[in-house]
């Protein structure tokens, strides 16, 4: 059967004008492209809480520990690595410090201190990791706690404790 070709201008043919739809679609596309803010992938620093309860301070310390203390004195974060006071940064290092305008403790000093302690550490049972206690005041910005945790992770220290007021379990 021969196919009959429709002549142009046939009154039975319906044509849709796509121009306005394409205009709107492009406007929508541009809107969503501008409105979209891509998220950075979030990582995590894993931790495991004590399965029973935190160790009490009254328990005798059986081995050497490294204690990093973070305090907040009028908006200035002061850090101590055991008995050594951590010097402050000469300049504003992070975006947070630039935002607040207050320099924080020198993280390289803390890292060198923990690294030195780790190299000298002799575990009592022969295969333990240097215990690091992070003791922070509640007003210290969270960033500095994560900075210390990050240093511990970089130094492959897995035995990390947060000094925390003892909370009675029900």
């Amino acid at each position: 059967m021969a196919r009959r070709r429709k002549a142009k201008g046939d009154p039975g043919e319906v044509e849709t004008d796509m121009t306005s739809m394409i205009d709107v679609v492009f406007l929508l596309l541009i809107f969503f492209m501008l409105a979209t803010k891509f998220k950075m992938p979030e990582g995590t620093l894993r931790s495991y809480l004590p399965k029973n309860r935190g160790e009490s301070n009254s328990r005798p310390i059986l081995s050497e520990t490294c204690r990093i203390t973070l305090m907040n004195q009028g908006g200035q974060v002061i850090a101590w690595a055991d008995q050594s006071q951590v010097p402050l940064n000469d300049q504003l290092e992070s975006d947070y410090e630039q935002f607040t305008g207050v320099a924080g403790p020198n993280l390289n000093f803390i890292e060198d201190y923990i690294s030195g302690m780790k190299s000298r550490y002799v575990p009592l049972d022969g295969n333990g990791s240097l215990p690091v206690v992070i003791d922070f005041a509640k007003e210290v910005p969270y960033k500095y706690v994560i900075d210390v945790l990050n240093i511990c992770a970089r130094q492959e220290i897995v035995n990390i404790a947060f000094a925390q007021p003892e909370v009675p379990l029900e």
Binding site: A35, T36, G43, P50, V140, P141, Y142, A153
Partner: protein, 166 residues
């Protein structure tokens, strides 16, 4: 003088718009979905930690997200997922409810009488928030028998998070 009307020549060249429209619609759908996802979580400026690991959750792993952020009045708030602001005590009650609803426990080697929940809590805390919130959240998790807790961080910062703030 009579104007001579030009004869329109039909070369038979048509532009097929269908693939372009298909692609544009796909792009719109993609951006709509991405935009929706990006506003689902509370706005938290996470700290930077290059040792933080991006991990894919296990198929049977249930993760609860606790957000610590600043509200419009610049007050620190704790939220479980994207719920209403909670006090530490309310967070503890909410976590206990989640643990009971989840209903999966594992043995506790330290105390056989008390089982531990297999739930996992991820703390997304603003880098400028008080670290004391961590004490509260850890205590709430411990009371709810949750022991797997992670702290969220990003590996690197690509743009200034405080650019919008005065």
């Amino acid at each position: 003088m009579a104007s001579k009307r030009a004869k329109k020549i039909d070369y038979g060249v048509d532009m097929d718009m269908t693939p372009m429209i298909d692609i544009v619609f796909l792009l719109i759908v993609f951006f709509m979905v991405v935009t929706e996802l990006s506003v689902q979580q509370a706005v938290v400026i996470l700290p930077v930690a290059n040792e933080a690991k991006v991990e894919e959750p296990q198929p049977d792993q249930v993760i609860l997200v606790v957000n610590v952020s600043f509200n419009k009045e610049n007050k620190q708030i704790i939220q479980l997922m994207n719920g209403s602001p909670l006090t530490p005590k309310e967070l503890e009650v909410a976590l206990k409810g989640e643990v009971a609803a989840h209903g999966k426990f594992e043995d506790n080697p330290n105390n056989p009488e008390v089982k531990l929940s297999t739930l996992h809590v991820t703390i997304r805390c603003d880098q400028g928030a008080d670290a004391g919130n961590i004490h509260s959240i850890f205590a709430a998790c411990q009371k709810a028998r949750i022991y797997q807790v992670s702290c969220s961080a990003i590996n690197e910062r690509l743009e200034d998070p405080y650019a919008d703030q005065p």
